[in-house]
Structures are given as C-alpha cells and as structure tokens.
Symmetry: D2
Subunit: 346 residues, 4 copies
Amino acid sequence: MLVVMSNTATKADIDRVCETIRTMGYTPVAMPGSSRTTVGLIGNDRRVDSSLVAELPGVAQVIHVSNLYKQVSREWKSDGTIVTIAPGVSFGGAAVPVIAGPCSVESEAQILEAARGVKAAGAVALRGGAFKPRSSPYSFQGMGKQGLELLALAKRETGLAIVTEAMDDEGAHLVAEVADLIQIGARNMQNYSLLKTVGRIGKPVLLKRGMAATIEDLLLSAEYILSEGNQQVILCERGLRSFDATARNLFDLTAIPVVHGLSHLPIVADPSHGTGRRDKVTPMARAAVAAGADGLIVEVHPHPERALSDGAQSLTLDQFTELMRQLRRVAEAVDRQVSGTPAGAA
Amino acid sequence: MLVVMSNTATKADIDRVCETIRTMGYTPVAMPGSSRTTVGLIGNDRRVDSSLVAELPGVAQVIHVSNLYKQVSREWKSDGTIVTIAPGVSFGGAAVPVIAGPCSVESEAQILEAARGVKAAGAVALRGGAFKPRSSPYSFQGMGKQGLELLALAKRETGLAIVTEAMDDEGAHLVAEVADLIQIGARNMQNYSLLKTVGRIGKPVLLKRGMAATIEDLLLSAEYILSEGNQQVILCERGLRSFDATARNLFDLTAIPVVHGLSHLPIVADPSHGTGRRDKVTPMARAAVAAGADGLIVEVHPHPERALSDGAQSLTLDQFTELMRQLRRVAEAVDRQVSGTPAGAA
Amino acid sequence: MLVVMSNTATKADIDRVCETIRTMGYTPVAMPGSSRTTVGLIGNDRRVDSSLVAELPGVAQVIHVSNLYKQVSREWKSDGTIVTIAPGVSFGGAAVPVIAGPCSVESEAQILEAARGVKAAGAVALRGGAFKPRSSPYSFQGMGKQGLELLALAKRETGLAIVTEAMDDEGAHLVAEVADLIQIGARNMQNYSLLKTVGRIGKPVLLKRGMAATIEDLLLSAEYILSEGNQQVILCERGLRSFDATARNLFDLTAIPVVHGLSHLPIVADPSHGTGRRDKVTPMARAAVAAGADGLIVEVHPHPERALSDGAQSLTLDQFTELMRQLRRVAEAVDRQVSGTPAGAA
Amino acid sequence: MLVVMSNTATKADIDRVCETIRTMGYTPVAMPGSSRTTVGLIGNDRRVDSSLVAELPGVAQVIHVSNLYKQVSREWKSDGTIVTIAPGVSFGGAAVPVIAGPCSVESEAQILEAARGVKAAGAVALRGGAFKPRSSPYSFQGMGKQGLELLALAKRETGLAIVTEAMDDEGAHLVAEVADLIQIGARNMQNYSLLKTVGRIGKPVLLKRGMAATIEDLLLSAEYILSEGNQQVILCERGLRSFDATARNLFDLTAIPVVHGLSHLPIVADPSHGTGRRDKVTPMARAAVAAGADGLIVEVHPHPERALSDGAQSLTLDQFTELMRQLRRVAEAVDRQVSGTPAGAA
C-alpha cells in the first residue's frame, strides 16, 4: 500500500499517516518529492484495508500494489497449466481444441446431427445448453435434465467430450454427471456460491468473462474455484458490453495475451458471442487463434434458421467446416495445431 | 418486427422475406422507400425469433418493436406500485424512506450502535450484510447465520425494518426469515435461479442494477420475479462500470426518471456504491432525491475506519445525520417527504 | 513514480531499477514487502517518463502519483474561481445562473422569440449555435456569420449574455466578437489547437466534457487554456457515451462534486444533451443543482417540433418556465439561488 | 422512419401521427399488431427529422432505417476502394502494407535510424509525428516544421512513403507538402473543420477512429472527407476507451470485418495504441491480419527507452523484424501478402 499525500499536507498529516500505519502493524516509509510526499508501507503481502488511512487529513490517494488473486497468478506458478477434459482433449498446450455445437439442446435429432457434423469437421468437444440463462423469463429456458441425457447420448454416439452450462448449485451437480467441462456463463461469473460449488465438485470448469468484468475480476473469480482445491479452470473471452450496437458485444482479444502474462491458466475465445453475428464469426475465430487462444468455442447449428436461441450467430455445418479449414492454416502460422482430424483426412 | 432491406435488394429478395414471414404465421407489409424497402409484420405481440429472416439475402437489419418485458411495464399497469416492507415503510408513494446501516454486520455492538444511530437520524430501515459477495475469496465473507440473528436482534431493539442480501437459493430462505426486504446484489442481477427463488418466497425484493445492465436488462430481471407471482419489487440504481477511475462507479441518476417512464415499480438510489467515496455520498444523495428517487440506501458505520468492508464509502453517524437534514430540505423542494422523524423532533 | 517489482524479481533486477532511476537524476528508495518490493523515487514533481524502467526485467508495474495538470488544480489555488461573463452573470459563487436557448440559430424571429421567452422565465444568458458540429455532413451546419449577427441582435434586444460555439481557429475569432462565453463542444475537447486559440483570445470559455473523457482529461484540456494565460474557464458535464440506448448519453452528475474536489474552476451541467430526451431534462436539471452545479445550460426552442436540430431534447418555453420554477426551490434547498428574476416577480 | 406507438395509443393518436407524416410530405402506412401499432413512412431516403412526431401523444419510439452516410457505403459502391499512397504502396487489395516508425520525430539521427531499420524489416511507409496532440500542455508537443523536414529527408534517403499527423487547418497544408498519407488522430475524428480541409486538399487520408466512436460515427466522419471530393480515405482501428486499465485501450478488431461489410473503404489496425503495451503488440498485430486488416501501423523506435513519447508501446527494431516475420506467415494463411521485401530476402 502506498499513501500519496496532497501537496498541501502538513508534517503533522504525514506523521499521523505513519503512526496509523504503525498501529496496523506495518512499517511506514515517507518519501518526500518536490511537490508531495508518498508514504510506503513495508511488510504487506495482501491488500491491507486502506480505509483507516484513506480518509485521514492530507491524504490524496491510496494505491495498492499487491494483487488480490494468488493461486491463479503466473507469479504463483510460472508454467502454464494444461487442463485435460477428456483423453486427448487438452487446453493450454500446443494444440488448439475446438468446442462446437448448438446454443441449446433442442431434440435428439438436432443434437445428434450437430454432434456428428462438428466431429466430422474436426471439433473435439460438443457444446449445447440444457439449462439456459435467458434475459427474458418468457424465452426458451432449455430442456433441463432431458437435455443432459441427450448430451450423454451424443457423447456415446460420437465420443466427443461434453461442455454444458450450470446455473445453480443443484444444476451443477446434475451437469457434473454428464459434462467433461462445466461451463459457468458470463452472467454468473460473480455468482460466488456457484463458483465454490464447482470448485468443490472438482471437474474442469470453463469460466466465461462477465460482460463488464476486468481481467482482474475474471482472475479473482477463477481464484474462488482454485481456492476450493480445483485447479482445472479454463478462462473464456466472450465479448464485453459496448456502446456500439453494430456488433452484439465488443470482443476483447487482447485479453488473451494479457491473461497469458498474468496467469498460468489457459484461455479460449468464443467468437460467436464475441461478435453475435454469423458473418463475423470466422474472421474473428482466425484472429483469436492468431492472438494465441488456447482453444475456441463456436456455436454451430445444423439448421440455424430453426434454432430456438442464438440462431443469428450460429454457423451452419458447412460454414463450420470452412472455418476449421481456415483455422488450421492460421494455427500453423503461429506454430500450433487445431486438434482433431477432419473426416476424410489421412 | 421490421425487416429493413438493403438498397441493393432485388424484388425476389423482398418476396422471399414476405414469404418467410407468412410461413411464420404473420402478415407481411412491404413499404418501398426511395432508396430501400422495409417489410413490416402484422400480428406479433412478442419478440418473434428473427433468425429465420435475419440472414436471408438482401436483408440489412431486423428491428424489434415490442418489449421483452410485460408485467413490469407501465403499459401493463399504469399506476405506480407501492411496496410496503413494514408497517409505515412504503416505497413508491410521496414518502422517501431511507435505508441505512453498515456494509456488513460485524458484531452485536457494532450493529446495535449503527441501528440506534441511523434510527435517531431518521432512517426507517437497517441495512447490513450477513452474506457478502466479495471479489476476492480472501476478503471477509460476512458472518452468515450469526449475522442474521444480530439483525433480528437489532430489529427487536429498534423496530427498524431489515434489508439484507441473499446470494443463493439456500441463503434466500434463511434471509427471508429475518429480512423485511431481501436484497439481490448487482453481481446476481442475472442469477435467474435466485430471482425465481425470491419470486416464489414472496417477500419484498430490492433488485440492484448490474454493473453493465441496461434498463431493459434490469426490468427483464424484475420480470423474472413478477412472473413467479411476486409484485413486491423495488429497483435500485447503484452505479455502472466506467472508464474513469476517479469514482468507483458511474452513478446513473437518469435511470430514475427513465424507470418511472417505463415501469410502475419504485426505484431507489444507492449513493454509497454509486460513488464509492464518502465525501461524494451526500451531494449525490441530494441529487437522487431531486431526480425523483423513491428512497435511498446509504452505508453508515459507527466507526468507518474500523469497518471490515467498504469503509471508504461509509458515512459516520454524524455525517449521516447531516445528510438526513439536507435530504429533508431537498425532498420538500420536490414535494416529497423523507419518512421517519429524527430524534428530538416533535 | 513508484516501481512495483514482480514477486519473482531478483536482487539484480531491483538494483538495475535503482541504478536506472539514479541515471535519470532521482534518488531511489527500495521498500521490500513480504511478497514483493516497491521502489519509490524521491524528487519528482511532474510525471517522469517511465518507459526507461517500465520494461526492465522484474518490473511488474509503474505507478505515477503526480497529476499532469497544475494551474487548474485546487492544490494550486484553493479558493474557487468565479467566472463573470457579463455584468451580474457569474459562475462559481452562490448564484446558479441558467443559460438557455435553441440548439441552433435558425432565423431572426426564432432567436428573438427564444431570447425573450427564456429571459422572461429567468435565464441570464442565451445559447444558440451559429456554427454546428454535426455527425453527418448532410445535416444542417448552422447559419454561420449570419447566425452570429442574429445573436448580437438578440443581445441588444434583451440584454442577455451570449453563449455560442466555436469549431475552429478562424471561427473562434468571429465568435469572440459576439459571444460573452465561447463554447468548446464535446467533440473538440481535445482539439488542442482550438484550446490554445481560445486561451489566447482571453474571453471566458465554456469547455464541454468529451463523450469518453475522464475528469483528468477534462482538467488537462482546461489546463491548455489556462496555460495560455486565460483563467476564465467554466467546465461542463454533458453526458458520456453509454452502452444503454435508453437515454442519448449517460449523465455523470458525480462529476460535479468530483471537479469541485480537484479543481477551483466552476462546473455547470447540460441536462439536455445529458439525457437527450425532453421529458428527462427537468428532473435531471433539478438533480444537477442538488448535486452542486454552478449553473445550467438548457436547450429551449419556441417550437421544438420545427427545430432544425435537437428538437427532441428541447423544452418549450412553457416547460422551461416550469423548470425554472422547480429549480428555484431546489436551489434554495441547497442554499443557493437561481439568478435572474422571472418576469412578473417582485 | 418507423413510428412505434405505445400499446395504450388511441386511434386518434395514430391518426395524428399519420397526419403529421403527411404534412412532412410522406405517405404513412399503419401496421396494427396485436398489442401495438407501428406506422411506417413511404418515400424517405435520408434521415427525416423525427422530432415532429417523436413527442406526439401515444408515440413510444421512432426508429430510423436509413444510414446517415452515403458515399462511404458499400451500397453506394460495391467494389472495395484501393488507396494508393505512393508507387507500389496500396491499401485495400491483396497486399497488407505495414507503416512503421516512432511516435514522434525527435532528431535527424533518430528518424533516419528508424526509417532505415523499418525499411530493412519490410515496412513500406514511415510514420512519425511532427505535430503531436498530447493530453497535457506540458508534454513534448513535437518538432513542428523541422520535424516535417526531417521526414522529407528520411523519404529521400529511403524511398519510404511518409505518414504524419495534421492537427489543424494550417498544419494540414504544411503536412500535405511532405506526407503521402495525412493522418487525422483519434482526438480529431470529429473535428469537422479539419476533415473538410483534408477533404479539399485531396491527398490520401488516414482517419483514426475516436476513443468512443461507433463504426457509424467513423463512417460519418469519413463521409465529411468524401463529400469534399476526396475518395482516398483509409480508416484505422486504434482501440477504444475501456473500464479495464490492464491495457491502455480496448482494441476492437471486430471493427475490421464490420467495416468491410458496411463500407468500400480499406481499414488498417494500430496494435501499438490498440494495446498500449509493447509485449502485446505482436500477438495483436497477428490477430489484426488474421481478422482481415488491409494494413498495419506500428510504433517502432530504435531506442524506445529514450523515446520522448509512447516509449512503453514502441517496439525495438529487432522486435519489429520478428513481428514482420510472423506477420508474413499469418498473411499467407489468409491468402494475403505483407508487402515489402525484407532486406536480404531474394
């Protein structure tokens, strides 16, 4: 903690700050500048509660220099964490696995057609919501348990790993029976009860960044999961709230190298929510891989025009096949490989 | 739903859009302009899934004209709703009740001193967190059940109504036993499971606006509660995420008249979180009342410098007494009254 | 400047930082914490260029503690500045002068009707654009010099002070011949050539906050004017860009007490642009005065439905008369007075 | 224009809207829905001033369906525009030219070393500011005319095209004598006087997106230049203001495919300002090319640690050489080529 004094602070003001810091059990260091003095504090390794000094006379500003997060930090663990959600499906290494599938599980026919299609194109995991967080209570809320059963069926049929969202504690336990990777959606990024629950369940977690979350917020939410003993966390950039309605969200790809600098956890990108528009998904998927994404999650629907949710941002199977073709080239150009072999390739 | 065609759309494109609308069970109306045609749709009263037409050739844009929310709308109920949380404590009428108290319940001594102090100054309800959502898992998380018991004690001692936050389904039931008004925090504004739970519990709910929530998002979240049969919802503006770190949040007071125009629900303001800085709370509390707020919620701590959370934005009891004095004058100037009689007043 | 070291920084890293600071002519102070070391710098009173150290091995972060602005700061001049734009029309004291008038000067009849009307209601200055910055080159761009002549006429007829915008260097000199207060619009807040020009002209300047400007940005832009020797600057909050299209802008009233804390310059509020919607102007004008605004600038048009620009946010004369009536009450409630006597009042 | 009626609107309200539209010279079409009526307008090809109807009784919302811009639109000109700034240096085709150089021209030695270095690495144009817009009046403001002379010298020595910024009308004419591409900075994106001036000068213009500008704002500003008869405009994405201080700006790469959809103008990306941090420039430059950028502009300084401005985001020559190597691979992966042959390549 650093206490910046006003340039009108008196010596008595500075002494009072130093004394208060001593009362808190730390050693103050006053550093006079030509126009103002800064008082440092020796001995802290966590954020000290600054309210004791923030409002003392003559104090202009209090600055914290320690991070609030710990276990997620690259300073804590310098090697990148590799999260393996199923045999051969790992995030955080040289491979760039692609998760694909519809926004919602809608029927057996739909999910099986989607699963077979995305597998043929090279996806290694199937996404599909059984429990859906929707802004309106009148929108389709997902098939629930029945949706989970259909995902289990799709897994048996195709061998794809399963990625699906949990919205509450009870749902998390249900989801955990089927999912290889439990998704926490953007709206629940700071639902700390849920974070603790999936931390305790211990299965890999896909933690999506909230619509107005800083990178620090995202890492702190991940810290909730790690602090319960679960290190298997994959972060996900999926676009931020923006003043420009041209795209649905503002896709913050810089988050990828920023996270790589601050944390050892892998980070994937969701260009479907990131852009909200089908025709922007492919260029932005390419961009995400070029920026260093450790994987992608893409909405694909065999018949987007009939989708019960997010149709406008879902790719057709043909479009997804083409996206995968393009991704392979971009991945190679950054010395990585899109995992999964497309059907027909030798 | 309105479908705006590109100015390069052909007659065939327009016909295809009209045909698709017919397939969906509606009647299309093509309106040629000098540079482009717009196709309207007769017969919808809810948002039609637009993905069927959004991606047809020649379509430039799809515009929805219906609101997604219904029961919260002033079109649905033109008279303002009055939410009574305890005898004589009503939000939405001419009175402007003030809720005050510490961020967290910390001890019996602290909460009783706070309760007596805010009551003496004219507050009619006591706030205080027993379950605290904190960005970091290492920050103080609240006293839990014991905190609720202390709130019940403070109620017995002072007669103040109790406002406290629920963070999950289990907690909501615990909180409901003590609280007169169950708070849903900004981070949980789109925790739909929790919204449904408090909707079913049926007690009055204080729903705080999320940090990047539009007014429509806020109203849709309230709709989740109303759609479970609970009309007793008070909205709360508490500041938005901002690019300017000068204040903790960007306090959007325009939300007050905007909500009054769109919805029959009352809306209160939280100048403590809205500004995050003690010395800005009083002017912004005055501004909120002048803008038409139906109440206020203010952080007050008998000893802010010892607070376990949010000390920097908490008022002392003396500062709160002065705030109340100023509020009474501003409330009168807009033909309203701060409810509650200050100690010593006749 | 404070240099926060990574918790993996070696002693050699810390020594290198200290050595570099010495090379720059300052004295380093290393403050070891339990998990990381911070290096302070003694002797700076302005922002040191930090790039020399920011990228050295082991450096996690560089923090600046000095403000970039100087003459606008309340640390530089503790008494509030009073800017007098015409006899009896002063901003920054106990009075709350109101500037009112149409977005654009459109004709002699329109500007005279507006001027007489707003004067009768109690405004002390007339606003009206002769040069208009419009997003589209095809929108009405203002009447130019002829508009200035009509403003001069309105001044002669009513005695109102004149407030009008300058968009470029040449226009600033023309505007200065007529205006008592030269407005710099939000889009030009960082047009430094223009800021220097109006600084040199020496007439009072109304500096509007840019749509995404921090308070520090605003103060730095004001500093450009003061650094040319012109202290007569009035700041103006007029709403920020927002993700919520419900209102045109996000009106940041907290800027008022924040500016009062940081700077000696007066700040007025523009609820017309701040909200963009006629029916929100009056409540937010009240809120601005309650928050401590040193004046208001309000769009009023005798016939808003025929306005060539900004009709949807302009008040009618009747609405403005009512607004002034309400403002007088709110101003009194915060111990201030709306200057100007309404017609018919004794 | 579409007028959405409230669901409480009466027949008289609807008739009044229709009548008003007729008065404006258009034909109204009323489209009753089950809960509300929308009134369309036949015959408009530009944005009609909506204030006449927006405030009529019973009107809930007015929606505009025409764009405000015209000549910049892809609807106006379907083929992409190729802007050639110097022989062999074209933006908008298959090539991806790279502009590189220091933030500011600082000395003959500095600019020549930079020019030779970036040319050797494959850049085809040299950037360097002679006139610098700086937030603080006390920061280095550029060398002015002398800086322009040094850029002219660097051009003679290396053959690189020159890109430099103009801040005002007078400066624009000076800059035009030396620059092959006149840069309009983000802060001046809506300085309409300056836009008209560079429109009339007729040289190619690099128009940077403002910090809170929507894509529509950017295109409208470009329209100012085109409406003066100058079609040679290159747009530039350089990062938006953000609530997250982790990076300097929020780099909106989705703007690239969005602009490609709406406009025929080429768009380049500036990963240096877009991220503000040296170690993020290379991954985000790769991402920009993968997203489809028509070129890049990158800050490179032979000795960033001595730079007078923006040192923290400038690459060294070695880092830039490596960036170019990586870009070539990514460009190939999206079927494009980084123009310019690196030294030593055959």
